[in-house]
């Protein structure tokens, strides 16, 4: 009897040992794979980051991918205000501010319009409102190429050609479909009874919007603002087609910068310039990551 109990326990022990070893191996495989893959993801960022502090001579000798042997900050102010892009030698600052001047109003306006449209299309339905929502949705899928010539012509007629205001208008209308979609889908889940009660208390269209809907909206507002901000900041096609020279946004300037590469490439300054251009959306991502991902998955699966 005692023997039998002992061996049973022994078998269990051995099984437990095998199981825990197997678990250990699978953990090693999992973390090993994650670690390897994350190297592929981190290296490009690290390369740009570190090279913005190395001297160009050192990059030339040791290549882009190597540990820094020098450290200096010169590349940053040069990229910001001295570097030549397409004949203009005042750095990326001007283009950076163009993007700022474009992205802030365009994000605010398109988000506000999306909120109101979403509110109407979910809570104040009218005959045909579903059809309206349907063709606003189509705007989500429209390729920019289709709209290039009409926009160029329309902006010309409005006197907004080659200006930041023109791009603001383009991005507001371009973004309208997305922002309306986000808010409409969010507001659909707000119970109608809540609004009925408010109506019986005499609240009208705007009062319900400000007193009931907006207080419920911070999550979707953050999602939408992040989505619009990163999308508009990173947009290139409209920026390069509709604007030229010193009115272009930062994405177009970065392309002009890397194309205008003369015989010797100044990787140090270009690294700093790329980072300056990528910094605003990256900051938004690091501080609002959760909402960024939510927007991504919601934007994808309507």
């Amino acid at each position: 009897m005692a023997d039998a109990v002992l061996t049973a326990a022994g078998v269990e022990d051995r099984e437990a040992a095998i199981a825990s070893r197997r678990r250990l191996i699978s953990r090693i495989v999992i973390y090993g794979l994650l670690g390897l893959i994350s190297i592929i993801y981190i290296v490009p960022f690290l390369v740009v980051f570190l090279n913005s502090f190395r001297t160009n001579e050192e990059i030339g000798q040791l290549g882009l991918i190597s540990l820094p042997r020098s450290f200096r900050l010169d590349a940053w102010p040069t990229a910001w205000s001295d570097f030549c892009i397409g004949g203009q030698c005042d750095g990326v600052a001007r283009y950076f501010w163009n993007s700022v001047a474009m992205v802030i109003p365009a994000t605010i306006i398109s988000t506000a319009l999306g909120a109101i449209n979403g509110y109407i299309l979910s809570k104040w339905k009218f005959p045909g409102s579903e059809i309206v929502f349907g063709f606003m949705l189509l705007g989500v899928f429209m390729p920019g190429q289709i709209a290039l010539l009409p926009w160029a012509f329309t902006l010309g007629q409005l006197g907004l050609a080659n200006s930041v205001y023109g791009l603001i208008l383009v991005h507001c209308i371009q973004g309208l479909s997305f922002t309306t979609l986000f808010f409409r889908n969010y507001y659909v889940s707000v119970p109608d009874d809540l609004l009925k009660a408010a109506r019986i208390d005499g609240a009208g269209f705007w009062r319900i919007f400000w007193k009931i809907m907006i207080p419920l909206s911070p999550p979707i507002i953050i999602v939408t603002v992040i989505w619009q901000f990163t999308g508009i900041w990173n947009e290139y096609l409209f920026g390069v087609v509709l604007n030229s020279g010193s009115n272009q946004p930062i994405t177009a300037a970065l392309v002009a910068l890397s194309m205008s590469g003369t015989s010797v490439r100044t990787y140090d300054v270009m690294s700093a310039a790329v980072l300056i251009g990528a910094l605003p959306p990256l900051l938004v991502y690091f501080f609002g990551g959760k909402y960024f991902v939510r927007g991504l998955t919601q934007g994808a699966i309507k």
Binding site: Y31, L34, I40, L64, G139, P143, Q145, I173, V293
Partner: protein, 308 residues
């Protein structure tokens, strides 16, 4: 109006009627803007594609000539062949890679959000910035090839962007790097929505880790596979920024894409009519992907409704 039911009858003064119309007045400008944007702009571009426009828009009718000239242009055949080739590898590898990442992250790992942050950050960065940096990495005299050569393997060659035949792989690899995190995020959301009891039941039945995924988990998230594929295909059809930043359609014309073709013909060569025809083809390609997908979504919704 959904909620006006009980209150409409209480007053018929002008003020009430105005109030009733408030929402429609407010949304009207957005409706007009969207309508113009979606229908008028698309119709306009379509008309230009049938016109004799060259450097400037002109409205002499030319029929399908631009389309014929487009489809007989060797450059266009390079463009759509590239798109098909790119779509095939970019979509499948991004999905496989994203699924692998999602499964790895789903194993109750430590510091999950740290890992997710790493794999998703490329999505916050523009393809212009990403493409610029990868272009440097592909540069044989300073990037990856230089590194490997310096480490001792002096025969190693890796010069995708200057190689006509393989330059498209530079775009495929960078595209996957930029989008795999996206398919990871969608797959992870799907994996998290699978009922844990089903997984437990499978494990009690003695199914191993691999079998559990293959037979139990993945079949239940089938719709996510389709959604991810559709979104990635959309990205592929719209590929423009990456091709510009990485190879600028080169070497020669070897990495021309439909979207870069449009830009090139409209704004570099002054062939607006043919550029517009190419733009209509981009729209058609999107429709080929999205119309069946929307029908599928409607069908699925109906089936769910029928099954209670």
């Amino acid at each position: 109006m959904a909620m006006t039911g009980q209150s409409v009858s209480t007053g018929t003064s002008t003020w009430d009627r105005i109030k009733k119309w408030t929402p429609i007045f407010i949304i009207a400008p957005s409706i007009v803007a969207s309508f113009v944007y979606v229908f008028v702009f698309a119709g306009w571009t379509f008309y230009i594609s049938l016109s004799d426009s060259t450097l400037l828009p002109s409205y002499g009718f030319k029929g399908l000539e631009n389309y014929i000239s487009l489809w007989t242009n060797r450059r266009w055949s390079v463009a759509y062949t590239n798109l098909l080739y790119f779509s095939l590898f970019y979509v499948t590898i991004s999905m496989a890679f994203g699924l692998l990442l999602a499964i790895l992250i789903d194993q109750r790992i430590r510091a999950e959000s740290f890992w997710r942050t790493i794999f998703l950050y490329p999505l916050a960065v523009s393809f212009i910035a990403t493409g610029t940096v990868w272009q440097w990495l592909y540069n044989p005299s300073s990037g990856i090839q230089f590194l490997v050569n310096a480490m001792g393997w002096t025969d190693f060659q890796f010069a995708l962007t200057s190689d006509r035949k393989n330059a498209i792989w530079a775009i495929i690899i960078t595209g996957i790097w930029g989008s795999a995190g996206f398919s990871m995020a969608l797959f992870l959301a799907g994996l998290r929505s699978v009922d844990p009891d089903i997984i437990k039941a499978a494990q009690i039945d003695g199914a191993g880790w691999f079998r559990t995924y293959r037979k139990v988990v993945l079949p239940t998230i089938g719709p996510i596979f389709i959604a991810v594929a559709v979104v990635l295909l959309q990205f592929a059809i719209k590929t423009f920024d990456l091709a510009v930043a990485l190879t600028n359609s080169g070497p020669g014309i070897s990495t021309t894409f439909p979207a870069t073709y449009v830009y090139d013909f409209m704004f570099q060569r002054g062939e607006i009519g043919e550029g517009a025809a190419a733009a209509m083809m981009v729209l058609a390609a999107l429709a080929i992907v999205l119309v069946p997908y929307s029908l599928y979504l409607v069908w699925r919704k109906r089936r769910e409704a029928n099954n209670g």
